[in-house]
């Protein structure tokens, strides 16, 4: 909207004329007495909100709330992190063995019933996992020596006899 200077001037004069709107005569003669009479009356009990408003600086309150939220967030995040560490899946074969529930078989630091020492801190995975192929019987291969003869010169297909 373009501002017409003449319209703007008229508007300012109209607004300035509002200053001449006055209450009825004698209104201000009694005004101070009314204020002082009301002032001597007991003050109404302030509401909780008014008391908070008076006693708490809104900027400080906002900063405190913000800090509290951040603090709770950090604590929550730390808690979540430690939970994740606790529940992290252990490598195969390192799962802690549960103690036997049978009191007759409960001998400290021994495999229940076997008497073998159980060292939990030095638990090692089964050898089959450490060295794949371990324990499998090695058989000597039967090789036909003629198979390795130089046969690249011809295109004939040789099959082992």
């Amino acid at each position: 909207m373009d501002t017409d200077p003449k319209e703007f001037d008229k508007l300012q004069k109209l607004l300035a004329s509002k200053e001449k709107e006055k209450p009825e005569k004698g209104f201000f003669d009694q005004f101070s007495d009314q204020v002082l009479t009301r002032l001597e009356e007991p003050a109404p009990k302030p509401t909780l909100w008014e008391r908070l408003n008076d006693q708490v600086d809104p900027l400080r309150a906002a900063a405190t709330i913000f800090a509290a939220v951040i603090g709770v967030g950090v604590l929550f995040a730390l808690g979540e992190g430690s939970n994740m560490a606790e529940t992290e899946p252990e490598p195969l074969g390192q799962v802690e063995e549960k103690p036997a529930t049978d009191p007759l078989r409960q001998r400290q630091n021994t495999l229940s019933g076997s008497g073998l020492p159980l060292n939990k801190s030095e638990a090692t995975p089964p050898r089959i996992l450490m060295n794949p192929g371990t324990g499998a019987a090695s058989l000597p291969a039967k090789v036909d020596s003629s198979f390795y003869q130089n046969k690249f010169a011809s295109n004939t297909v040789h099959t082992p006899k």
């Binding site: 703007f8 508007l11 004069k13 709107e21 002032l39």
Partner: protein, 192 residues
């Protein structure tokens, strides 16, 4: 009436001197009332809110630190009180407009400002006041306040900034948009 000395009267009012309180009320009553009246366009509400302003000020006078003038501090209470009142008011705004000062005999001049192409040719002075006040009520409370303090009461931008707790540029911007809106609302009456 004793000579006006703001600091001295404020200091005495702090100690509960009712004579000093009376002097402070008489010194500022017209300006505080006018501000609230132009914000509400209702005499009864303005009278009540202006009284509340002084009562609140005297009850909290210990919190006046002297960072600004007592008048600015008082204005701030009046303005906040009025804005809270306007926001909390759910009912429709009822205009209760005061008559123009009888000594100000420039009604014809005022009517001369109105365009001859107005929707109604025979708009009278009181009607024009009503139209202007109704247009003011269409503004947001912040825009209405800045127009009241600057264009009606003639306060400088700097003091308005102190009262409204904002910088001078914000005051100028608000004033610009408020005037534009008023021009739009009153365009039928202001045409050249």
């Amino acid at each position: 009436m004793p000579e006006w000395n703001e600091q001295e009267f404020v200091s005495r009012a702090r100690k509960g001197d009712m004579e000093a309180c009376d002097a402070i009320v008489r010194q500022y009553q017209e300006r505080i009332y006018a501000t609230v009246y132009h914000m509400t366009s209702n005499h009864e509400d303005a009278a009540d809110l202006a009284q509340e302003t002084f009562i609140k000020a005297f009850r909290k006078i210990d919190k006046f630190k002297g960072d600004s003038s007592f008048f600015t501090w008082l204005y701030r209470i009046a303005v906040n009180n009025t804005i809270n009142f306007i926001r909390s008011k759910r009912r429709r705004v009822i205009l209760s407009i005061n008559q123009m000062d009888e000594e100000w005999d420039r009604g014809e001049e005022l009517l001369g400002l109105v365009s001859k192409d107005t929707p109604r040719q025979n708009v009278d002075r009181h009607e024009l006041q009503g139209i202007l006040n109704a247009a003011m009520q269409k503004l947001s409370s912040n825009h209405r306040l800045v127009v009241t303090l600057h264009d009606v009461q003639g306060l400088p931008h700097e003091q308005i900034g102190e009262i409204m707790d904002c910088n001078t540029n914000t005051v100028r911007t608000r004033l610009h948009y408020a005037r534009k809106q008023l021009q739009a609302h009153l365009s039928d009456y202001l045409k050249s």
